[in-house]
């Protein structure tokens, strides 16, 4: 075993490689989960206004039949902007049954909160931080166990990368706190 380590300069101990793999898995897994959740968040938002076109400059929607939904109100507590079509045109619309259950005209609720501001977004950011912290602490444990043996450099690298990723997550969460 020592001969192998001497020739290749790589650690022969399984634990070092396991740690490396685990750190990559944890760091990448956290980002991947976060990305998936964000994608799902956006898709859910899109599908709520499926068929409707948002005009950014004029700040109103157009329905598939061409009717305009103008800004009705902004709910700053729920952080949502509400748009509404005229009740009279919805009443005569052939698609009403598949569009709105009300007699007050079709409403669209446009969330004003960004992904990171939502509860689920914050949850994912904290979870990413905890996972980066796990990788950091684990590489520290491994360093205490294996310091001086071949592979120490690899462990230091894992430690530094995990610490950096964790620090970035802390900064991200702090930046959100300042905005609030």
């Amino acid at each position: 075993v020592n001969e192998l380590e001497r020739l290749t300069g790589l650690p022969a101990d399984l634990e070092v490689w396991l740690l490396l793999g685990y750190a990559i898995m944890v760091l990448a897994g956290a980002r991947l989960t976060e990305a998936l959740a964000r994608t799902h968040f956006r898709r859910a938002r899109r599908s709520a206004e499926h068929g409707f076109r948002y005009d950014v400059d004029a700040d109103h929607y157009h329905c598939p039949h061409g009717e305009r939904l103008s800004l009705h109100m902004i709910d700053s507590v729920e952080r949502v902007a509400v748009y509404r079509a005229p009740a009279s045109s919805c009443a005569d619309c052939p698609s009403k049954a598949a569009c709105t259950p009300h007699e007050e005209g079709r409403h669209i609720y446009r969330p004003l909160a960004e992904w990171a501001e939502t509860d689920v977004g914050r949850f994912h950011q904290w979870l990413s931080l905890v996972m980066a912290g796990s990788a950091t602490a684990l590489s520290l444990v491994a360093l205490v166990r294996w310091a001086g043996r071949p592979g120490t450099g690899l462990l230091v690298l894992v430690f530094v990368v995990s610490l950096g990723v964790g620090w970035r997550d802390v900064r991200r969460l702090c930046a959100r706190g300042e905005d609030d």
Binding site: I74, R106, V130, S134
Partner: protein, 578 residues
């Protein structure tokens, strides 16, 4: 009289001959060695055999009755066969209506026929029973033969056995073959890839099917202090307090168990093992998790049923308190029983009954298990009573029924779980336990608790920040536990188990070699335990200072908790600060 007795005896012999025909046929079928015999371990052949047996035997009995009826006609008691047959059937089945009584000369024939009938029915019952035993025997034999064959069997002329164990058993020499490896890997890839394809297709095309573009419904919740509560709903405050208290004890025991891994000598200078040895903290920790979950689900069911039904039958509150009392008896009794067992105070036959059964983890005595299942059935009665008025008007596929079915499954699956949740291996299993049990079921239990608590507590006692703290502390503490400690240590243990053997991976030496990783889990554990405290505090408030609410006999059938709203532009006009 002598003549009657002689005739009765003759009839017994005659009916026995009749009965012998189906009996002989059925015995022949049952003892057949043919592989396609009706007794082979398969549902439909067994079903046909049983139907055949029942019909044959019933036919034979009808013939017996007819023979007796014929005798009555010959004796001149009846002019018509139909009346004779009816009377004979009444006698044969020992029904004894007494609407027809034969003349004094022949009346002894009646009881004699009844005796004959009892003997014949007994014979048929015995035959059916023997048949059933035979079927069960065949199934057991088939099972034993099959498992023995599949467990290890030499395959003549080949270098490998029928089985592909990993790690292989040297006594059987059942190494993995190349094909086994290749096809296992391929099928795993196909399974994961196929699942991925289904999910990808769903993600890509789900917009085209079902709901899309329909207006979102906005709901406004009724202020919690405006919602009336039924007596049973109010009783759940006590349940949730018990749940929270048990959960706190459960997490503290978990902390003590983890501490044994970090330092098995002493608990910060105190010899904890004298009072709470490792096996006790671990058993209580696991068992309390189950109690916490089941108690919270029971309370959740009791709280939700009136919301679904719109009203509550009388006496539900009392029943609910009875169940709570039973629950406390089971929890306290089973925990004390285990402690007494581990401390050597409970011995002999009473030990598995009231103390510890000797399983590694879930150890409660059989008496408590039976009591617990009984309690769950009582709960089912409560939920059924609560939902009955609603179920009467619903189709079997609708939501209230689904609610009832899921209620039904709790006692059923608990009873099944008793049989299989007794073995556990490395920290990977603990990892599974914490991620699924705590991560899913405990969190779900707490969600039910917080949902109900919002309506049980006085508005001025409710505290959003405390509940928020609990949420973050419990989730992040659990994430630290799982990602930093349990999973990685489990992997190391798995490696040790392959290298040095399973026994070594579970030995105290292994844990003594990994104390640092155990110490570093402490922050997560403390965070988790701290997250339980607000829950205990708030549930205690709900018990000591219950919200004064008019007792509701009937809730509004339209949901009492929320109503649909349209945004009111007058309240927050457009152009307000976002």
């Amino acid at each position: 009289m002598i003549l009657s007795l002689a005739l009765g005896l003759g009839m017994l012999v005659l009916t026995l001959c009749v009965q012998a025909v189906p009996t002989a046929i059925l015995i022949r079928i049952a003892t057949s060695k043919h592989p396609r015999s009706l007794t082979r371990p398969s549902f439909w052949p067994n079903f046909v055999l049983f139907q055949m047996a029942a019909v044959f035997l019933a036919l034979a009995h009808l013939v017996d009755i007819a023979l007796w009826a014929l005798l009555y006609c010959l004796c001149g008691e009846f002019a018509e066969f139909e009346g004779a047959y009816y009377h004979s059937a009444v006698n044969f089945s020992s029904l004894g209506y007494g609407d027809i009584v034969m003349s004094v000369r022949w009346r002894l024939l009646g009881p004699l026929e009844a005796m004959n009938g009892i003997v014949m029915f007994g014979l048929s019952t015995a035959l059916m029973f023997a048949l059933m035993t035979r079927l069960i025997e065949r199934r057991i034999t088939a099972f034993i033969a099959w498992t023995a064959w599949t467990a290890s069997a030499r395959r003549p002329g080949f270098a490998y056995s029928y089985t592909n164990n990993w790690p292989p058993e040297p006594l059987v020499d059942n190494h993995l073959t190349e094909e086994a490896v290749i096809w296992s890997v391929l099928s795993l890839i196909a399974l994961l890839g196929g699942t991925g394809l289904v999910l990808a297709a769903y993600g890509r095309y789900s917009g085209l099917i079902g709901w899309h573009g329909m207006e979102e419904r906005r709901l406004r919740f009724v202020a919690p202090d405006q919602v009336p509560l039924t007596p049973a709903q109010r009783s759940t405050a006590w349940y949730f307090f018990v749940v929270a208290a048990l959960f706190l004890v459960q997490t503290l025991l978990g902390g003590a168990t983890a501490h044994y891994h970090a330092d098995d000598g002493s608990f910060f200078g105190f010899d904890l093992a004298q009072v709470l040895p490792y096996n006790l903290t671990r058993t209580w920790h696991l068992q309390l998790a189950l109690f916490v979950i089941s108690a919270a689900f029971l309370a959740g069911g009791i709280f939700l049923a009136p919301l679904a039904a719109g009203r509550e039958p009388r006496g539900q509150g009392v029943l609910s308190y009875v169940l709570l009392g039973a629950l406390v008896v089971v929890v306290v009794g089973s925990l004390l029983g285990e402690a007494a067992s581990y401390h050597g105070m409970l011995q002999g036959d009473n030990r598995p009954l009231f103390g510890a059964q000797g399983w590694e983890y879930l150890d409660l005595g059989r008496f408590w298990q039976v009591l617990l299942v009984g309690g769950m059935l009582l709960w089912l009665v409560i939920v059924y009573r609560g939902l009955r008025s609603r179920l009467a008007n619903e189709s079997f596929g609708n939501l209230p029924y689904l609610f009832f079915y899921s209620a039904l499954s709790i006692p059923l699956f608990y009873a099944v779980g008793l049989a299989c949740r007794y073995e556990i291996g490395t920290q990977l299993t603990a990892n599974h336990g914490h991620a699924s049990f705590a991560g899913v079921y405990i969190m779900l239990a707490l969600a039910l608790l917080v949902f109900a608590l919002r309506y049980l507590i006085r508005p001025e006692d409710w505290n959003d920040r405390m509940v928020g703290f609990s949420f973050w502390a419990l989730n992040l503490g659990l994430a630290w536990m799982v990602f930093f400690n349990l999973f990685p240590l489990g992997v190391l243990q798995l490696g040790d188990s392959v290298a040095n053997g399973y026994w070594h991976a579970r030995s105290i030496e292994f844990f003594r070699g990994h104390t640092l990783i155990e110490w570093l889990r402490l922050p997560g554990d403390i965070l988790f335990i701290a997250g339980v405290l607000p829950i205990v505090y708030l549930t205690a408030k709900a018990v000591w200072r219950p919200r004064p609410t008019p007792v509701a006999e009937a809730l509004s059938l339209e949901s009492p908790l929320f109503r649909e709203v349209l945004p009111d532009a007058a309240a927050v006009p457009a152009g307000g600060t976002p």
